[in-house]
């Protein structure tokens, strides 16, 4: 298991577009991906689940990945979030 905590800089937060990009990227890996925010946990491969976290701009999330390709997956997800969702999924 590997994890990383970072700030979501997108001006709206986890909304349909950003949540969808995150979920698509996460789904391209075998590992399980979870996102934690305010003691809530979401399935990182589900856009709906990510949206229900209610993460707004400038708030901190923790990404937890576990599985065979966890390092690569975490790397890509970190890049995606820190590039403000420009890094392609």
């Amino acid at each position: 298991m590997t994890q990383h905590t970072l700030v979501l800089n997108d001006p709206i937060g986890f909304h349909a577009r950003t949540a969808s990009l995150f979920a698509k990227t996460a789904a391209s890996f075998e590992s399980e991906v979870s996102v934690y925010f305010n003691e809530k946990k979401a399935n990182g491969k589900s856009m709906l689940s990510l949206m229900t976290l209610g993460v707004k701009s400038k708030q901190e999330i923790r990404i937890e990945v576990s599985g065979g390709d966890e390092d690569m997956a975490l790397d890509r997800l970190k890049n995606l979030v820190s590039s403000n969702f420009i890094a392609s999924a």
């Binding site: 709206i12 937060g13 909304h15 349909a16 577009r17 969808s20 979920a23 789904a27 399935n43 491969k45 589900s46 856009m47 709906l48 689940s49 949206m51 229900t52 209610g54 707004k56």
Partner: protein, 543 residues
């Protein structure tokens, strides 16, 4: 054989297109029963999801080319939600653990998501919860064989219906609506106003029999002649096509001239402005050469939302719309709706007579903190970026007028102490639409900076004739001389104090009266954007 229907013409024009019936979809029923074959039920669920995705991809194909990038991406989001792993897995788990049917389980899972998103109190995510409910509705109808009604089609059609709500009309692609034929509906209700704004021919008060028409029957809606012909013959169609060509050419000519300066032959001028309620209409106003936005109906901002709007929500809605035509002054009317347009988030008791009920400022003042306060503060803030005037609807007494003005002044003072130091009071105006104001100019001309005649409401109150009742339309012809006399008297009092009077009801676009308005010295006429070129052309013909 050709059948011919007549009615009241609300919006002129000609359409040659097949008929399509629109009715409110029957309410969704969520079946709830036990099942034995779990695997079979899960397979049915998979099949319904795939069916729903087919619908979504058809909608997207329909809108392709009409909607731009971001609006089109909505359909991709729908598609993704229908494949969302949590939604699918949780539903299947629930089918197994509860031994209940898929429709029931999917409803429970999606409602859970919708409620959670709604509770986050974020307008953006609340809108997504509406999307989920819409998709759940679609999947459940597919699972249980309930009728699915699509209001999206690519070709042009004439809508035939008993009634059509403003919401229904807004949800449809206006390009695909060639014309509208209704059994009920009023001359000046919001559907009528929207149809005029979109230049869609609209005929109302048509005999009930019209509802027996089959979908796709060829029709000819000629509202220059005031008739709806079902199964027209080729000669009739040919004749209508010729007329349509002439009309389009004439309108195009007027539109080309619309942005040129509008003065009479002797150099007199009058500002020809637009009534708007959306960005689309603001853009039309600009394209048609409007000299200003004479009436911005803000109620659409309230009606289209599912939750109460915050001050910032108001600000964002108005900023995005005003941005569509930044160069001119926008006259923005405070909320005007009542029990005839109920809001899901604000329960209002049903009234016998909503037009004369707890509506507009009466409703706004009663729920001041929820409705008017955020709106007023957003408008004051926006006056820093745009040239605006604030217009108050349904003023009946001097007290009404003084009360709302002092509330605006109070919010201004408060904002100034909270970092908006340089804000100034925008021009403050009132609608003249209640007879007690209209016939008492002396009492009111001191109280506001400008006045706007709402002739639609004033007419119905003067004649005690409900404007949505088709049988009473005759009164709205007879009221015109009275309206002109009242406007003239009011204007002469306002003029003495150098205050502007404008007209924003139906009468403003009536070219029979343009000359009279110029003679009286009315400062501006405000109308549906589509009427502007016609009125401007009339102004140029006058001495």
């Amino acid at each position: 054989m050709t059948e011919v229907y007549t009615g009241k013409v609300v919006s002129k024009g000609i359409a040659i297109a097949p008929a399509r019936k629109v009715a409110l979809p029957p309410e969704l029923v969520v079946p709830d029963h036990g099942i034995e074959d779990l695997k079979h039920e899960q397979a049915l669920f998979d099949k319904a999801l795939a069916g729903a995705r087919d619908y979504v991809s058809r909608w997207k194909a329909t809108m392709n080319g009409r909607l731009e990038g971001e609006a089109l991406e909505l359909y991709d989001a729908y598609d993704e939600m229908l494949q969302d792993p949590e939604l699918v897995i949780q539903t299947k788990d629930l089918i197994e653990s509860s031994s209940k049917n898929a429709a029931h389980c999917f409803f429970r899972v999606t409602e859970d998501y919708a409620t959670t998103l709604m509770a986050l109190n974020d307008p953006y995510l609340s809108a997504r919860s509406e999307d989920i409910r819409m998709l759940a509705d679609l999947v459940i109808r597919l699972l249980s064989g309930q009728e699915i009604q699509e209001l999206t089609w690519t070709d042009k059609a004439v809508i035939v219906s008993r009634q059509l709500t403003p919401q229904q009309l807004s949800s449809m692609n206006s390009d695909a609506i060639a014309g509208i034929v209704l059994v009920e509906g009023g001359l000046t209700d919001h559907t009528a106003i929207l149809a005029q704004a979109l230049s869609i021919p609209l005929l109302i008060g048509v005999s009930e029999q019209v509802l027996e028409i089959q979908n796709e029957t060829p029709t000819l809606l000629d509202l220059e002649a005031g008739v709806f012909e079902v199964n027209p013959n080729t000669k009739q169609i040919h004749h209508a096509q010729e007329k349509l060509g002439v009309l389009q050419e004439r309108f195009e000519q007027a539109r080309l001239q619309a942005t040129e300066k509008t003065v009479t032959k002797s150099g007199r001028s009058i500002s020809v402005e637009a009534n708007v309620g959306s960005l689309l209409e603001v853009k039309q106003a600009k394209a048609n050469g409007a000299d200003g936005i004479g009436l911005f109906r803000t109620e659409l901002a309230f009606l289209q939302q599912k939750t109460l709007l915050s001050e910032q929500d108001h600000y964002d809605v108005y900023a995005s719309i005003l941005e569509g035509y930044k160069a001119v002054t926008h006259t923005i009317r405070l909320l005007d709706f009542g029990s005839d347009k109920p809001l899901s988030y604000l329960p209002v008791a049903k009234e016998e007579n909503p037009a004369m009920g707890l509506r507009a400022l009466r409703l706004g003042l009663k729920n001041y903190d929820l409705l008017l306060k955020p709106q007023i503060r957003a408008l004051l803030r926006i006056s820093k970026e745009f040239s605006i005037r604030i217009l108050c609807p349904m003023i009946a007494t001097e007290k009404d007028c003084i009360e709302i003005k002092s509330l605006i002044q109070y919010e201004l003072k408060d904002l100034k102490t909270k970092g908006y130091k340089e804000l100034k009071m925008p021009p403050f105006g009132i609608m003249v639409e209640v007879p007690n104001v209209a016939v008492n100019p002396k009492k009111f001309v001191d109280l506001a900076d400008f006045f706007s005649f709402g002739t639609n409401d004033l007419a119905q109150f003067l004649m005690a004739a409900d404007r949505s009742n088709v049988n009473l339309s005759i009164y709205f012809e007879d009221v015109k001389p009275t309206l002109i006399a009242i406007i003239e008297k009011f204007n002469s009092h306002a003029k003495r104090l150098g205050k502007a009077v404008s007209i924003c009801g139906e009468l403003a676009a009536d070219t029979d009266f343009t000359e009279e308005f110029l003679d009286i010295g009315i400062s501006s006429l405000s109308m549906a954007p589509s009427q502007i070129p016609i009125v401007k052309r009339r102004v140029r013909e006058i001495k």
